[in-house]
């Protein structure tokens, strides 16, 4: 361990005896206290977006993992994967190198009951035509049902669901109970606090094939009687209203938040400055949204949503944005390349953050003040399976390995997804939920990079060298996800203290050194939003590379990086936000590992099987620079305050 890494590591992770300014979280459940409680908080790595065979699409693709299997896998046990032999033996298996700290099974609320009916002989509706089609032609049913339930503006249940869908709603109660029971069974309520599960579901609105999905996550075991799906509430506003009625206002200790994902596939609809009815946002609706939606999934299996491809200088683009981008902007056009077009405005996180500043100036409330996490969106139940070298595939978007062991485990344009990291005092539901709520969270594209990020007006320039880095960070400023307090009269600019540690990896597979830390600033100028990317630590020109023929890494990098940076362009009259991006040295993309393992020889094109031809497409990325994105820190002129919610 280098001297710098040691000092940065001590600064980031060493517990301090007291924490003067961070408010303790409320406890909403009875459980044994965690033996390890760190008032300066520790990073917990997890996956907030996991599907199992309870989700209709995963089920149609032949996935058999249950929520219990997903939690077992997250805790380090092996998971059997498609295809299955006739006797049910899986022909593939995968296992995490390192267990997760937490995971959330978020099966689609839509068709929860229908899936159960179609797969359970004897239930009323089991012999319906649609169920027969599902069992005979699962993928045909997958598209048919997508076209009726998910991708339309006014979804209608199938007739076999009975009067007002009652039969299917009733059938949904059973899997919903099993989801809760699985979360409870794998939640470590002992003092060891090894693993935390949450109860959740995914609301999967897809009007016009524009993805406006939300993961719904509950703080504790008190949850509504049934999940609210896109069929019952076909707008996000309806979902939030129902969550307020069924949970927040129920007076039974229920608490909830929602996390949108895939703005890259939303057609700009996640960051629209209007309601689903086309009305301008008002302050009340904006407050509701901001309270319920503190986080956003910046990256997952179906692509990165941070920023768009394009030249630097416009909002939402820089040279490092060429990372895990999907070539299409709507999932229903995946197989129609002649209809591919760049995602419309508002399809990326930076554009949403910029729109938030604009709306804040207009309404006094920011509807898009969200922190960032990443997750997998696995449909195999493989929570946290993010390692590029042995990516098992996540079975989304019509892929099937149900029939034969695939040469390529997933579609080339997809990726293993990322992880959510929460800074919390202990690994228990209340502490982790509080971290999500105050946005003290960040996302990584897979590696377990540790990042701390504070902003304040009085951070000393030598903060990185001080052992009380974290305590001072909290005491003199705000952590990631916070809002800067009003500046003192004498303050020229806020100081940002950012420190990162590389992922150490495992003995068999060491992590990759860091290359640099950047700070992305977005501000609202008189003529509209602006952005700029600052290099604040590391060496963008370190010459590190990877050989795509062998995946051998070359060149040096950093074990740890730390910097105290003052914004040279700060204007106290301009609303602004900043987030940090920590970038690793280049490594092989998962597809490159597959191409090497399959012995693809592009010099002999005739020898390359059809599925592996993309290995030889020079337009496809062979390497990636894995990264972490922190939640932003905001500055609001005149009315700034420290935000804990």
């Amino acid at each position: 361990m280098s001297g710098l890494r040691r000092s940065v590591g001590l600064a980031l992770l060493a517990a301090a005896p007291l924490l003067a300014t961070a408010a303790p979280f409320e406890r909403s459940e009875e459980r044994e206290p965690c033996a390890r409680f760190d008032p300066l908080r520790a990073p917990f790595f997890g996956d907030t977006h996991v599907h199992t065979a309870f989700s209709f699409d995963a089920n149609a693709l032949g996935v058999r993992a249950t929520p219990r299997d997903a939690y077992r896998f997250a805790r380090g046990e092996p998971l059997g994967l498609r295809p299955f032999d006739r006797d049910g033996t899986p022909r593939r298996e995968t296992r995490l190198e390192r267990p997760l700290d937490f995971a959330i099974v978020t099966d689609h609320a839509e068709l929860l009951g229908e899936t159960r009916i179609c797969r359970t002989p004897g239930l009323p509706g089991h012999d319906s035509l649609v169920c027969r089609v599902l069992r005979r032609w699962p993928l045909l049913a997958y598209y048919m049902v997508n076209g009726r339930i998910f991708n339309v503006r006014d979804p209608v249940r199938y007739r076999f669901c009975g009067e007002e869908g009652g039969r299917c709603l009733e059938a949904a109660a059973s899997p919903w109970r099993e989801i809760q029971a699985a979360a409870e069974a794998f939640y470590d309520r002992s003092a060891a606090c090894r693993f935390t599960s949450f109860v959740g579901w995914e609301w999967s609105g897809n009007p016009g094939s524009h993805m406006i999905h939300r993961n719904v996550i509950f703080r504790n075991a008190t949850v509504p009687a049934l999940p609210t799906s896109y069929v019952e509430e076909p707008t996000p506003e309806g979902l939030w209203r129902r969550l307020e009625e069924d949970c927040l206002a129920a007076g039974n200790g229920c608490d909830v938040l929602t996390i949108p994902h895939n703005p890259n596939l939303s057609g700009g609809r996640i960051f629209l400055p209007e309601t689903s009815a086309g009305l301008p946002l008002d302050a009340e609706a904006t407050r509701r949204r901001a309270a319920l939606e503190p986080l956003l999934e910046v990256m997952q299996h179906k692509g990165d949503s941070e920023c768009r491809l394009g030249a630097a200088g416009r909002i939402g683009a820089d040279e490092l944005c060429a990372f895990e981008k999907l070539p299409y902007a709507r999932m229903d056009r995946r197989n129609l390349p002649f209809l591919w077009a760049p995602p419309p405005p508002g399809s990326f996180v930076r554009e949403g953050l910029a729109e938030g500043l604009r709306q804040q100036a207009r309404l006094g409330v920011n509807p898009f003040r969200f922190g960032l996490v990443a997750s997998t969106d696995t449909h195999e139940g493989a929570a946290g399976a993010v390692a590029e070298p042995d990516f098992p595939g996540h079975a989304a978007g019509g892929d099937t390995s149900a029939v034969e062991v695939p040469r390529v485990p997933d579609a080339f344009e997809f990726n293993p997804g990322g992880l959510a990291v929460l800074w919390a005092e202990e690994n228990a539901r209340d502490a982790l939920f509080a971290a999500m709520r105050r946005r003290e969270a960040y996302g990584t594209s897979g590696p377990r990079i540790v990042v701390r990020w504070f902003a304040g007006w009085e951070h000393p320039d030598d903060l990185c060298r001080r052992p009380d880095f974290v305590a001072r960070g909290y005491a003199d400023g705000v952590p990631m996800g916070g809002v800067l307090p009003p500046p003192p009269e004498a303050a020229r600019a806020p100081a940002f203290a950012v420190a990162a540690l590389r992922d150490l990896g495992t003995a068999d597979r060491p992590g990759t050194p860091l290359q640099r830390i950047q700070i992305v600033k977005i501000w609202l100028a008189a003529d509209g939003p602006r952005e700029r990317v600052f290099e604040v630590a590391g060496d963008p020109g370190n010459g590190a590379s990877v050989d795509p023929a062998t995946c051998q890494r070359r060149g040096a990098g950093f074990d740890g990086l730390c910097s105290v940076w003052r914004d040279p362009e700060f204007d106290r009259e301009q609303p602004a936000l900043w987030y940090a991006r920590v970038v690793e040295n280049p490594t092989c993309r998962w597809s490159t590992w597959v191409c090497i393992a399959q012995g693809v020889d592009c010099a002999r094109p005739g020898s390359v099987p059809r599925e592996l031809r993309p290995c030889c497409d020079p337009g496809r990325a062979r390497t990636v620079q894995e990264r972490a994105w922190t939640s932003p820190i905001w500055y609001v002129p005149g009315r700034a305050r420290r935000a804990t919610r």
């Binding site: 319906s128 035509l129 649609v130 089609v133 032609w137 699962p138 993928l139 045909l140 997958y142 598209y143 048919m144 076209g147 009726r148 339930i149 991708n151 339309v152 209608v156 199938y158 007739r159 229903d332 197989n335 019509g398 892929d399 099937t400 149900a402 029939v403 034969e404 695939p406 579609a411 059809r610 599925e611």
Partner: protein, 131 residues
């Protein structure tokens, strides 16, 4: 065997064996009867569940592809039948059945089909298709 009978037999055989391009979200190569079968499934769903969603468009696309394919196969069968029936009726019958047998043999022996709704489309022969 008359030219008309030969044409009909060939047309049915081609409809059951000749791989035609398929497109409905997925792409593939399947015989016309498979297209008709899938169109029939969609039709049945429409009859039971109504036209809500994209099921009617899908059924129309399948029917259109099947109709185009069957028309092309009819032209092929017509041309071939004309050629085969230039000799005696017995020879025409033998030649017709030989073509049918050849079509069945080739599509059974080789993986000519790419069945839709399995991505990447599963390669298979006639027996796989009938599974």
């Amino acid at each position: 065997m008359s030219e008309r009978a030969s044409r009909r037999i060939l047309w049915v055989a081609f409809a059951a064996t000749v791989p035609l391009p398929f497109f409905l979200v997925e792409t593939g190569w399947v015989p016309a009867v498979r297209l008709l079968l899938l169109a029939g499934v969609h039709g049945a769903v429409i009859a039971v569940e109504g036209t809500q969603g994209t099921v009617a468009i899908a059924a129309a696309l399948l029917l259109a592809q099947a109709a185009l394919g069957l028309a092309a196969l009819w032209v092929l069968a017509w041309g071939l039948a004309q050629g085969l029936s230039r000799g005696s009726p017995r020879r025409a019958a033998a030649a017709t059945w030989a073509v049918v047998a050849l079509a069945l043999f080739v599509t059974t022996a080789f993986d000519l089909y790419r069945t839709p709704f399995r991505t990447p489309a599963l390669r298979g022969n006639l027996l796989v298709l009938l599974e």
